[in-house]
């Protein structure tokens, strides 16, 4: 009897003890979680905020020690310089033309191929698909030199004759940056995974009614794939806007430089004009930042989906 009484007492005590320690732990735990997150967030955004702040300061203030985070002599002269003297405006236009052309091309050609792989039955489909996917494992740098030489030999462009000799082909032109990127294996794969979930009945019904495959793709499959297309468009835009290596190899003339290439070349040549370079850096980031902030939901879902094949 005594034992049972003790047990009863214990049983009553236990939840009390629990409810005493738990909120404490939760409070300490939460404090730890938030302090870690806030410290991390500060460390991760500080470099970026510094760039923004420095871009509005005259050169002499950038060299202040201790550093001034809030501009003492606020100026937009750096932006004027980078646009006028350096010619960032032209590079902006080039980047926009290239990135937007690639996005439009990829949306159409990727989704067309994706629809074919996802929803059509034809001999060789699975073999072609697997072969296509297997190339994803190949590191991109292996294509740099051969593709450079291929671009140089494109017939009837850039002073080349019909055999692709004599000129520079698609090198140093928009073509060389746009056309090889018009369609991407990643994009096809990604949209195809999404299109697989469109019910076959819907498409078959249209087929029975005599609709052409292109009509079905254009009027049924495409409108139903909005989220996948959005994710593809956003990541393609970001990738092409940020790309540096390939434009550097293909482009020669200053007038055709992309924003990233122009900024890098300017920086490498003139390492001391930090004020102008910082303004240029902010300008080079704004488009992708805007796209990211506006379409953040699609963006993150898209990235998450690609990983969960």
């Amino acid at each position: 009897m005594a034992a049972t009484a003790q047990e009863k007492e214990l049983r009553q005590l236990k939840p009390a003890a629990k409810s005493f320690t738990r909120p404490m732990l939760n409070f300490v735990g939460k404090l730890l979680v938030y302090s870690l997150l806030i410290t991390g967030a500060i460390l991760f955004t500080a470099p970026w905020l510094w760039m923004l702040s420095a871009s509005f300061q005259p050169l002499s203030d950038i060299f202040n020690w201790p550093p001034t985070w809030w501009p003492e002599h606020f100026t937009i002269q750096n932006y004027r310089d980078v646009l006028k003297a350096v010619g960032l405006g032209r590079w902006y236009l080039n980047s926009a033309i290239i990135a937007i052309s690639v996005v439009v091309g990829q949306l159409f050609f990727n989704s067309l191929a994706a629809y074919t792989f996802a929803k059509r039955r034809f001999p060789g489909r699975d073999k072609i698909f697997v072969f296509m996917l297997s190339t994803l494992m190949i590191p991109g740098v292996i294509f740099l030199i051969p593709n450079y030489l291929i671009l140089m030999r494109i017939p009837l462009f850039g002073g080349n004759n019909i055999l692709g000799e004599g000129g520079i082909g698609w090198l140093d032109s928009y073509w060389g940056l746009i056309l090889p990127s018009m369609v991407s294996v990643w994009g096809i794969f990604f949209i195809r995974q999404y299109m697989k979930s469109i019910p076959d009945d819907l498409l078959d019904a249209a087929r029975v009614d005599g609709a052409s495959e292109f009509w079905i793709y254009w009027k049924i499959a495409l409108p139903l794939s909005g989220p996948a297309l959005a994710a593809n468009a956003i990541s393609t835009f970001t990738w092409n806007w940020n790309e540096f290596f390939w434009p550097m190899i293909v482009l020669q003339s200053n007038d055709l430089y992309t924003v990233q290439l122009g900024l890098a070349m300017f920086f490498v040549k003139q390492r001391t004009v930090w004020d102008v370079v910082m303004a240029g850096s902010v300008m080079a980031t704004i488009p992708v930042l805007l796209v990211f902030l506006l379409f953040q939901r699609h963006f993150i879902r898209g990235i998450a989906l690609t990983g969960m094949k």
């Binding site: 470099p47 020690w65 001999p123 740098v141 051969p146 793709y217 969960m308």
Partner: protein
């Protein structure tokens, strides 16, 4: 019985194979638009991927200088020369260092942030955005910013490290042979954490809540739940991240071009950068192509090793 079935099968397959070919051809004619729909992809893919891959191998067997008309066939000489080139070995070593430290650190910090965010904190969306901004920032821009941060005389990093008493005197981060590589690794972690975080957040959300409830009933504490439930169930995500990050890290170029040019003393000369130098500065395209193939082989081996290593692990 068994014999009859197998013979019948054999006869059938013989007849069928002929019929099959006919049927396949009929199907191909009927579905010709499928091939038409694939043709834009197919043209680009066969020129810039399939042909390009073979062409690259072909170039690697030649003395290939675009400024000279004749391309001398040299067999495997470019490859044998590579194995006698100390600069190449150093670049491989540098690449391994950069990847071997950078990738695990990036994965760990991304996982940490994802775990912290997954504890149902307020403002999850804002934190996620803040950690993700470095990922979308163009690499050229990141390189410019970090070049400034690492500056010896005026750099922000030195200022705060001095202020908090972590270092005694100013460090020349990118100019110091022993610090340049760690500096690039730190910057890489900064640029990569957000991407890893997003993937892990997606992975964490797919773990069923019941598993945690069940383990709580069994009396598992938070750490045990992390080690025995969360981390094993995230293995597919980890595997995917490991493979893609290693491939990406092996090809690093832009920030090295802008920040260090491979220096000081070649300490940050990674394969991607050395390849660029050989191919597009010295126009030794055969040599650079051989390098690209060796890089490809290393990545392939690493990927296969990771696959084997992980396959034993991810089985449910």
């Amino acid at each position: 019985m068994a014999v009859t079935t197998s013979t019948r099968k054999r006869i059938n397959t013989k007849n069928l194979s002929r019929a099959n070919v006919k049927e396949t051809l009929r199907q191909m004619r009927k579905q010709w638009t499928a091939y038409l729909f694939l043709s834009p992809w197919f043209i680009v893919f066969s020129i810039f991927t399939v042909f390009s891959l073979g062409f690259s191998l072909y170039i690697s067997f030649h003395e290939w200088n675009i400024l000279e008309a004749t391309k001398l066939f040299v067999g495997l000489e470019n490859y044998t020369r590579l194995f006698k080139d100390p600069k190449f070995f150093q670049s491989v070593w540098n690449t391994l260092l950069f990847t071997g430290f950078g990738v695990p650190l990036g994965l760990a910090s991304g996982l940490l942030v994802a775990l912290l965010l997954n504890t149902k904190v307020k403002g999850q969306g804002i934190f996620r955005t803040l950690f993700y901004v470095p990922v979308i920032t163009p690499l050229v821009v990141s390189a410019v910013i970090w070049k400034w941060l690492y500056q010896g005389d005026y750099g922000l990093l030195n200022y705060y490290l001095l202020k908090f008493g972590i270092i005694k005197e100013k460090l020349l981060w990118l100019a110091d042979p022993d610090l340049a590589m760690p500096a690039l690794i730190i910057m890489g972690v900064w640029a990569g954490t957000g991407g890893v975080m997003v993937m892990y957040l997606a992975g964490l959300q797919s773990i069923p809540e019941e598993l945690y409830d069940a383990s709580k009933v069994d009396g598992a504490n938070g750490l045990q739940r992390l080690i025995y439930i969360t981390i094993p169930l995230l293995a597919p995500t980890t595997f995917y991240l490991l493979i893609t990050s290693v491939i990406g890290s092996f090809q690093s170029f832009a920030h090295i071009y802008i920040m260090t040019n491979g220096g000081p003393l070649n300490r940050t000369n990674v394969i991607g950068y050395y390849m660029y130098e050989a191919g597009f500065r010295q126009y030794r395209m055969g040599y650079a192509s051989a390098m690209a193939y060796v890089l490809f082989a290393i990545i392939l081996i690493l990927t296969l090793v990771q696959m084997k290593f992980v396959k034993g692990d991810v089985e449910y």
